[in-house]
């Protein structure tokens, strides 16, 4: 069974090996352009000064944190419905990257919040939902690491990922409700008036760079995961061959 499963991943390894350098170059170019525009094109805010530059890291990281969960949800569907071997690999590779982006958006948001709100953390609806998302990512990773058999672990986490995909809008809605109940109208709104093009363009370029970074890292992590599974299959095969040769000797 394991040999038959590896047929398709082999094609994936060949394709991704050819694709990966180009993706990396595109990612580096987008980051160079995005960072240049962030620091030299985008103006300082008249109230926040240079701290507004944090936004160009914070907002794309938050977007990617959510996109990564959708990639995982789609992969979970692929695991459960089509039993595609790569879907499982993709979901597993995406989870730590998603957790990292979520962590990045929490950290940058907190650093941005210190000069703006005067505190590192407020129980704002958005921050709270991102924190819950972070806990969910870590829970999924923990479940993956606890179940030993990778196929079974993939199925279990696929179920949990889909339940999470159903529940995330409910959690978001209820946290919004809770926040308006507890602290009305204290939230600093990001989108005051229409966003000026000198801010919008760097933001979009940075979002593109982050997306390319995600795809690069995701592909590299998937390749690692495929290799790790091959290694596991080889080790299991070697171990069973060793016991098969050892048994007659023990019998003699």
């Amino acid at each position: 069974m394991a040999i038959a499963d590896l047929a398709n991943p082999t094609r994936f390894m060949a394709l991704s090996g050819r694709l990966l350098p180009w993706l990396g170059i595109a990612c580096a170019l987008a980051f160079a352009a995005g960072l240049y525009m962030t620091f030299f094109v985008a103006p300082d805010d008249y109230q926040q000064g240079a701290t507004v530059k944090i936004m160009f890291l914070h907002v794309p990281a938050a977007w990617l944190a959510m996109m990564c969960y959708s990639v995982m949800a789609v992969s979970a569907l692929g695991t459960l419905i089509w039993k595609h071997p790569l879907a499982d690999v993709s979901a597993r590779a995406a989870a730590p990257i998603g957790a990292a982006f979520t962590f990045l958006s929490l950290i940058t948001g907190s650093l941005w919040g210190k000069p703006m709100w005067g505190t590192y953390w407020v129980w704002d609806a958005r921050l709270t939902s991102v924190l819950v998302l972070f806990i969910m990512y870590l829970g999924l990773i923990a479940l993956w690491r606890t179940v030993e058999d990778p196929i079974r672990a993939g199925k279990a986490t696929a179920v949990l990922t889909l339940v999470g995909a159903i529940n995330l809008p409910i959690i978001k809605f209820s946290v919004d409700w809770w926040n308006t109940l507890h602290q009305p109208a204290s939230v600093v709104r990001l989108d005051g008036p229409a966003i000026h093009p000198t801010i919008l363009w760097p933001l979009l370029v940075m979002a593109l760079a982050f997306t390319l970074l995600f795809f690069t890292l995701h592909m590299m992590a998937m390749r690692n995961e495929v290799l790790r599974r091959r290694l596991r299959t080889l080790q299991l095969g070697a171990a069973s061959a060793r016991t098969a040769t050892a048994r007659p000797q023990a019998a003699e």
């Binding site: 819950v132 179920v159 209820s174």
Partner: protein, 229 residues
């Protein structure tokens, strides 16, 4: 006897079996109430014995206590049945597994959740709650704790094959229980302070329980099938 038994018979038999197992010796259902009492006793040591403060945070404390007590009892839901092999029999019985999980959850709630609801008015006295607030908290707990059990069934099914899955179960289930906690506490608070109507969050809480009674059994049944093959 040879024909298929009507659905009501086996559902009733399963419910009675689960309830009997959880209440009798070795079931440990009532330890949840004891844990609930212990949590409520510890709270004043943490926040101080100020009765006004306790009355204000009382509903939230009762809800968090009930949440923790429910989480701690969840690993009993499938673990014992897996250990003695009856879970495999249930999987192979040819009955809809979703329904089996739902019945097991309801019986588990009747054995562990219902005692928490009954104990809540007594514990509310420790927290200096008004009679109206006590009634509101008890009502929201009665409606909301089934949702906690049903959501927790997913975590229990996912971790059933793990030897020490209790802690992981709690970590997996807590994010999904946040909406229940929010609407439960805000419905109870609304009954006391009434800037907002009681009915709106209460109906949301009812809706969450209904959604959980669909999503929980289906996801848990799926997870149980995967863990067995």
């Amino acid at each position: 006897m040879s024909g298929p038994t009507p659905a009501g018979t086996w559902v009733g038999a399963l419910f009675a079996r689960e309830l009997r197992l959880s209440v009798r010796v070795g079931g440990g259902a009532l330890i949840g109430v004891l844990f609930f009492l212990a949590v409520i006793t510890v709270i004043p040591f943490g926040v101080g014995p100020d009765l006004n403060l306790l009355a204000r945070i009382g509903p939230a404390v009762l809800w968090i206590g009930a949440l923790l007590a429910t989480l701690l009892g969840l690993d009993r839901l499938f673990q014992a049945d897996r250990d003695d092999g009856s879970l495999d029999l249930m999987l192979m019985a040819g009955r809809p597994l979703e329904l089996v999980v739902l019945v097991k959850c309801l019986a588990h709630w009747a054995g562990t959740g219902l005692p928490l609801v009954i104990a809540a008015p007594v514990l509310a006295i420790f927290l200096n709650l008004e009679p109206l607030a006590t009634g509101a908290v008890t009502l929201t707990l009665a409606v909301g704790t089934p949702a906690l059990t049903l959501i927790g069934a997913i975590g229990a099914a996912l971790t059933v094959s793990l030897r020490r899955g209790g802690l992981l179960l709690a970590v997996l289930v807590i994010p999904f229980s946040i909406p229940v906690l929010i609407f439960g506490v805000s419905a109870a608070d609304a009954a006391i302070t009434d800037p907002t109507p009681f009915l709106t969050p209460f109906l949301f809480l009812c809706a969450l329980t209904l959604v959980a009674s669909v999503v929980g059994p289906f996801a848990a049944a799926m997870a149980l099938r995967f863990s067995s093959d």
